[in-house]
């Protein structure tokens, strides 16, 4: 007991409850946690992001209910799955009848299948805490050769003070299946609460999965996501990540491409104000030949906010004929805002076309002046330029009702009109 008390990780989770029903994933995660420490900035993957703001605090679980109406996206016409503080609230959810889609608790994922899928994947202390202590989350299963007709909207709401949410989800799209998922993360009357999310998935041969993640939690909350997707041959995977929320956000996104002729696309927009710290940490691991990937992340940082982009693409030795495009652009709206941008290409194959670029700068002064000479106020001129800058990322959100709700959020939050 004394040893446990000295371990910072174990004292952090002290008092959290675990579901009584045990399974292999949980047990192994719990065991692995014993040997874990919180990362410091000396750890390469966490070089730019200090987690002390989170780990010095303590958080409690809270199973409660909310009124979901503010979180429903108008006209999205989606399957609605509601998670309050990480607990799945079936009573608040509204699922349409669709033979293509099965929704079960995440524990129903077969242990052997899952174990094999994630065999060589590195966990970190946050994903392990989630897996050990998660008491809510779903296993979405999309049947072979079938398309889920409506988007699947996973509504996450964080509510209460110093609360931790550990939602854990798994999405399996079987051969040739197709699905589109919207995940929103919002908060209500939440102070200094913590979303610790795990979202994993398997896009099997020739399947298509598209995910749009929009995180707008309160700016005194914390958000760490560990996302992992495995793609089989001929599959297509897209994820758009829009982040305006949380005091500290870390989106850790890994895509392992385990088959030929795959396409991977990841786009992100992150917009910081105050003292927000927004970190996007991505990996695309190309293990097979004849694949393409495209990655565009854009940041707009104001006040004293800090943006981090660390995007790695690995092309393994036998992966020939790979096209990988990556770009990260940032605009600093204030002198005190900063961005750490680190694109990394690790290429071990010969026949590879890769491009990557990273820019950080201010708004174009000449353009600003030009707009103002036409009678546009400085504020509106800046808005037009910012909107133009991140517009190409937002255009990737091709579900019109979702795009509208994102636009509405930007208008309310920043006064930006698109």
């Amino acid at each position: 007991m004394e040893v446990a008390a000295e371990n910072k990780v174990l004292s952090f989770v002290n008092g959290w409850e675990r579901p009584t029903e045990e399974n292999a994933v949980r047990k192994e995660a719990l065991q692995a946690l014993n040997a874990m420490e919180f990362p410091t900035t000396r750890v390469e993957d966490w070089k730019y992001t200090r987690v002390g703001k989170i780990t010095k605090r303590s958080f409690k679980q809270l199973n409660t209910t909310i009124d979901t109406s503010p979180y429903i996206i108008e006209d999205l016409d989606a399957h609605q799955l509601v998670f309050v503080n990480g607990y799945y609230r079936e009573d608040l959810s509204a699922i349409k009848k669709d033979d293509a889609l099965t929704i079960q608790p995440v524990d129903r994922v077969d242990d052997a299948y899952y174990g094999q899928l994630v065999e060589d994947i590195d966990e970190n202390v946050f994903s392990l805490m989630n897996k050990a202590y998660s008491n809510g989350g779903v296993y979405l299963h999309v049947a072979k050769q079938m398309k889920v007709e409506h988007p699947i909207h996973m509504i996450h709401v964080l509510t209460g003070d110093e609360v931790v949410a550990n939602p854990r989800h798994f999405i399996r799209v079987e051969q040739g299946g197709k699905a589109e998922v919207v995940t929103t993360f919002q908060s209500e009357k939440a102070e200094e609460s913590f979303s610790n999310v795990v979202m994993e998935g398997h896009v099997e041969a020739n399947a298509h999965l598209r995910i749009h993640k929009v995180q707008t939690e309160a700016k005194n909350c914390f958000h760490i996501a560990n996302e992992l997707f495995v793609q089989d041959e001929g599959s297509q995977f897209l994820i758009n990540t829009i982040t305006t929320g949380s005091r500290l956000t870390r989106n850790g996104l890994n895509v392992i491409v385990e088959g030929e002729n795959c396409h991977t696309e990841m786009n992100g927009a992150y917009l910081g104000t105050d003292r927000q710290h927004l970190d996007n940490h991505t990996l695309i691991d190309q293990l097979y030949s004849n694949c393409t990937s495209s990655e565009t992340y854009k940041g707009v940082m104001d006040d004293k906010s800090v943006g981090v982009f660390n995007g790695k693409v690995i092309v393994r030795q036998d992966s020939q004929n790979i096209e990988a495009y990556q770009s990260n652009g940032n605009i600093l709206l204030s002198k005190e805002a900063t961005v750490n941008s680190k694109p990394e290409l690790e290429i071990y194959a010969d026949d590879v076309r890769c491009s990557h670029g990273s820019t950080t700068g201010q708004l174009d002064e000449e353009a600003l002046f030009y707009l103002r000479t036409r009678g546009i106020s400085e504020k509106n001129a800046k808005n037009l330029l910012v909107a133009a800058f991140i517009g190409d990322v937002l255009e990737k959100i091709d579900i019109e009702p979702l795009r509208k709700s994102v636009d509405q959020h930007f208008l309310e939050e920043f006064g930006w009109e698109f």
Binding site: D364, A367, T373, R374, G375, I376, N380, A381, L384
Partner: protein
């Protein structure tokens, strides 16, 4: 409408570019400013539009009775000043239409007028693009992005037509235009002229002045207006260049 008295302006690095410039423009008039490269013509336009990076060390400028130098760039535009840029800026991602709608609505709000509805706005876009023969498709593209030199200049006059300024300053709007485009652009400017507005045309060729007849021609050299005359002065300058003015000055 515009009165410039003893205007001195330096760049922030210290060099004085405008060295005591005087000028008076009244409603209904067209003034041409000619002068050699580097004389300070674009600097004058930039200072009038309120561009940052210049120190006004002496002098005053009043525009319709207001102290122009005290106004923000956007408020100068709202008061009715328009600058057609020598080098229009490309702004990828901002559509011409969206930007003009924002501009027009802000200007109208400033003047206490209602925002234009979508139908009236589009009618105005159509009418204004016709004035300069601008392909209406360009109106919906990003501001100047990928436009040819001539298209950029026509886009400037298209914006002038949209915004209906009191005073327009056209900085080398003729440069880079072939003769047909030059005719189109000058026709456009002539159509927009009225007894209530005024135009300052900055150019160093007189050929534009064959199409837009100025009431006055000023010669700007070394940061000052060194000579003012009727439209015939432009022809004289074309023939003799600018050097004779220096000689004339020295002998005075």
């Amino acid at each position: 409408m515009l009165t410039i008295k003893n205007l001195h302006a330096s760049v922030e690095e210290g060099a004085e570019i405008l060295k005591g410039l005087n000028m008076e423009v009244n409603a209904g008039e067209v003034h041409a400013i000619m002068g050699p490269n580097g004389a300070g013509k674009s600097t004058l336009a930039a200072v009038l539009a309120g561009k940052e990076g210049y120190d006004i060390t002496q002098g005053e400028v009043s525009f319709d009775g207001k102290d122009l130098l005290e106004l923000e760039t956007e408020d100068r535009a709202k008061e009715g000043m328009f600058l057609a840029f020598q080098y229009p800026v490309e702004i990828p991602g901002v559509s011409n239409i969206n930007f003009l709608k924002t501009a027009l609505n802000e200007i109208r709000e400033y003047r206490g007028e209602e925002a234009l509805n979508a139908k009236d706005f589009m009618a105005r876009v159509r009418k204004s693009s016709e004035i300069v023969n601008l392909d209406p498709k360009l109106a919906s593209r990003s501001v100047n992005a990928g436009f040819s030199g001539g298209e950029k200049k026509r886009n400037e006059i298209f914006q002038m037509a949209m915004l209906e300024p009191k005073l327009s300053i056209l900085d080398e709007t003729d440069s880079g235009l072939d003769i047909d485009a030059l005719k189109v652009v000058s026709d456009g400017v002539n159509k927009l002229r009225s007894k209530d507005n005024a135009v300052i045309i900055i150019t160093h060729y007189q050929r534009l002045l064959d199409y837009i007849t100025p009431d006055y021609v000023h010669v700007l050299a070394d940061g000052k207006i060194v000579k003012t005359g009727p439209k015939e002065l432009a022809l004289e300058l074309e023939e003799k260049g600018y050097d004779w003015l220096n000689e004339e000055k020295e002998t005075v």
